[in-house]
Symmetry: C2
Subunit: 325 residues, 2 copies
């Protein structure tokens, strides 16, 4: 009996080890996309390969909204702002935009235009310290639920992309988020959700001011935009925060085009991945139309540039982590 048990354990260990060796991306279906990713990673990590890249240069950058987690029906950071508006004292709802947000009236909110949206964001994101802001995001993540799935927002992350992040790190890559979303917002969830520490999060940001009140220094968030980490801003931010050109980039919209272009314009090997939202049943299907995650130029020019597309319906065996919901 003891002998049989030991044989069984040994079988399990061997099988698990060989499976993980055989498939670092179990939630990706076999096909060109998965093969292209694995071939690239194997070639840049093989010291005998002409494409070998030293570990210090293995930098991988990923957009967040629509690439690592979902972004429908509205960007999750907007959902956070709306939920904060709902908690505001009615006397402080001094504009149509804030009133619409507090009433959960998304159409009315969007009707107030960009200035209305900025006002809603300002109410929840400014006039407080970075520490207090992060605490409010943390509390929201615990209680808020996605309107379509009922999941916590930090479980609306893509299982195949989690596996890709882990695979890259296992192969000596440093993995970064380079997002149009707010840097302080993403940093609250990135360590637990993605295994990415705050220092490897790059994002849009507001001006912060260092003030000392009664001997206690704090960083206050002001309403002034400091940096818009989108489109041509992404390569600029990559240079600013990382100081090296990445060799792997993942995105999902035209806001990532320049990041993928910059990544694939170096002298050595590079890989560009577009997550293509094709799965209306399990997630959402959208690309060329709408106001979230629009992908036109990427679809037109990506293929001829050798960029790889992850077709969510075809390439992903699962979308969200199984343990969630």
């Amino acid at each position: 009996m003891r002998f049989l048990l030991s044989l069984f354990v040994s079988f399990l260990v061997t099988t698990t080890a060989s499976m993980s060796f055989a498939d670092p991306l179990p939630s990706w279906n076999a096909g060109d996309t998965k093969s292209a990713i694995i071939s690239f990673v194997e070639s840049v990590t093989d010291p005998a390969s002409d494409s070998y890249v030293t570990p210090a240069d293995r930098i991988a950058v990923f957009d967040n909204d629509g690439t690592l987690w979902a972004e429908q029906p509205i960007y999750f950071q907007i959902a956070f702002a709306v939920d904060q508006a709902k908690k505001m004292d009615p006397a402080d709802l001094t504009s149509d935009a804030l009133k619409a947000a507090a009433a959960g009236d998304v159409e009315g909110m969007l009707a107030t235009g960009k200035s209305g949206l900025l006002e809603i964001l300002a109410a929840s994101h400014t006039g407080m310290s970075v520490t207090d802001f992060k605490a409010s995001v943390e509390a929201w993540l615990k209680e808020a639920r996605h309107p379509d799935t009922g999941r916590p927002y930090d479980q609306m992350i893509y299982q195949p992309m989690l596996e890709l992040l882990r695979y890259l790190r296992d192969e000596g890559f440093a993995t970064y988020i380079v997002s149009g979303g707010g840097i302080d917002f993403i940093r609250v969830l990135s360590p637990d959700a993605y295994g990415i520490p705050p220092k490897q999060v790059v994002g849009s940001s507001l001006v912060s001011e260092y003030i000392v009140a009664e001997g206690a220094p704090m960083l206050m968030k002001s309403p002034e935009l400091f940096f818009n980490d989108d489109k041509a801003g992404k390569p600029v931010a990559i240079n600013h925060h990382i100081g090296q050109r990445p060799i792997f980039a993942g995105g999902n919209s035209d806001g990532d085009f320049e990041m993928l272009e910059w990544t694939t314009s170096g002298d050595g090997p590079a890989f560009a991945l577009y997550v293509h939202h094709t799965d209306a049943d399990r997630e959402y299907a959208y690309d060329r139309e709408g106001h979230i995650g629009v992908l036109n130029r990427g679809l037109d020019e990506g293929p001829e540039r050798g960029w790889v597309f992850a077709d969510m319906a075809k390439d992903w065996a699962v979308i969200f982590p199984a343990q969630a919901q």
Copy 2:
């Protein structure tokens, strides 16, 4: 004979190992400063200690000019700009500031004031890509020599601080530069000089623009200031780049006061170090007066805040690396 040799080798190995165990900071003289550093590091890395800090939170930040390398008789980045002006076509020397720089006339250059200095910096730092700028800094480091010592500028680094950086890294710290100097400039030398990769360099910066010329994307350096990483800007930049409060900070001037204040205002243990330039014989002696590395508030308030001062004349057995010059 073989036996004696083996004994001798074994003696060497044992001695070296025990020496390095006994003294992680061999260029620091025994005394309160060295003891304070080692006590702090031992307490935050001992899992049994009340002051234990998890490796992910062991962030150490250091000013560069006057803290990790020298800054006299002029900031080395200014010396670079002057040397670049000397190489300019005389027809392009369109101002008194540029003419004075090209003539190596430091007094005349300073007489043109801040706008003159900015003009000289702009000529060598802007209107080119980040890649070309870094190549020009690299070429300069190879050929330029410090006027007082004849050493290459990247050998004007402080041996005791190199040991401190290595000691901290050996004990699980991530070491960062947080400098008022230019981020692109420092990144050229930081990996070889300090063992600090580009992504762990924070500094002042100009606006960069992403442009695509004939299919080739590049990051162009514009003359517009993006961020001044000095004084209250240092905690802001630390939050922006690192997103965590450091637990160890080193500086040498009032420009570092807020960084040290921020570092030592968290809930847990923290260490603030001021490098005090007291050694006119081996380096330079300066603090409250002059226009470089002025230290007034730090001297006045640092001691009562528990900040530690490295007295270069007393605490440092050597200043510069022995292999240099």
